[in-house]
């Protein structure tokens, strides 16, 4: 039983949809943080109009 369990990947245990969901959550959070919230002048200036248009706190 234990040997059997070890051969199972994370995908088998919690399901491919949940694994995809967790990966999407990580990638999506990084992208949204970079566009909307990161405290970098370069990112702020490039995403300025997008930040304002989405109502992110800006300036």
């Amino acid at each position: 039983m234990s040997a059997h369990t070890q051969t199972h990947s994370l995908t088998d245990r919690v399901g491919a949809r949940t694994v995809a969901g967790l990966m999407a959550l990580v990638f999506g959070s990084i992208l949204v943080f970079g566009v909307g919230l990161a405290n970098s002048h370069t990112l702020h200036d490039a995403a300025h109009d997008t930040r304002h248009s989405y109502g992110f706190p800006c300036h």
């Binding site: 949809r17 969901g21 990966m23 999407a24 999506g28 959070s29 995403a47 109009d49 992110f56």
Partner: protein
């Protein structure tokens, strides 16, 4: 299958993000530019540490092609990011997306829920603001914004997805809590930006983002429903 699900979310996000640029150039960005004209002539609303840092984007740009393409890129990244997060919610919650019209309808509902959490709920305390508007400390506002988005999402899930009345009531409390606590408010509310621009802008921001989230939700529901259960990749 995992790769296919992520690609489905990315596709929906890039299409919705692409559609957002023309929507912004019709509704929000003309108002941002009008407001900047007032901000630049007065310039008193920024303190010394912020002066010069906030608005140097007129000439320089990250891509080197100017402000328009910066916004196109930022909207694509924002679209992809929001799409991945919305897909994450759908996949982790186990929302079933039967093929066809039903998948689009459920996607639209997901998009509407996300609009409530990411746009409407935070806008109650921090109205979408044009440049030159009075503002509290950026760190305080970002913290309150993130807490409100998260609380609204958790609260909405309790309210809509759970059958127990106690949990539904708790969800309502969680949604309201950040507003009872209160958003950071600037000390001085005076501004050189005309009130008309500000109020038109708040409505324009909520309207364009509603368009974005409904388009994103509908596309996401449709694309995710097209990923076969037994797909290898």
């Amino acid at each position: 299958m995992i790769v296919r699900l992520l690609l489905a979310a990315l596709a929906a996000g890039l299409i919705a993000g692409m559609a957002m640029t023309p929507a912004q150039y019709v509704k929000t960005i003309p108002l941002i530019m009008q407001a900047e004209a007032y901000e630049d002539t007065e310039g008193h609303s920024h303190d010394a540490s912020e002066a010069g840092a906030a608005h140097e984007h007129s000439g320089d740009s990250v891509l080197g092609f100017g402000r328009f393409w910066d916004t196109v890129l930022a909207n694509l990244v924002a679209g992809a990011g929001f799409a991945l997060m919305l897909a994450a919610v759908a996949l982790i919650m186990g929302v079933e997306l039967p093929a066809g019209r039903e998948a689009i309808m459920r996607g639209l509902l997901l998009g509407a829920g996300a609009w409530f959490c990411v746009q409407l709920a935070p806008s109650i305390g921090l109205p979408p603001a044009v440049p030159g508007f009075p503002h509290a400390d950026i760190g305080d506002r970002q913290s309150w914004w993130m807490i409100t988005v998260a609380a609204s999402a958790v609260g909405l899930w309790c309210l809509v997805m759970r059958p127990e009345w106690v949990v539904k009531a708790l969800g309502l409390v969680i949604i309201i809590a950040p507003h009872v606590w209160g958003a950071p408010v600037p000390g001085d509310l005076s501004s050189e930006v005309p009130a008309y621009i500000a109020s038109a802008y708040a409505a324009a921001s909520l309207a364009t983002t509603l368009f974005f989230w409904l388009l994103l939700g509908g596309l996401l529901g449709y694309f995710l429903s097209r990923v076969p259960e037994e797909a290898a990749a």
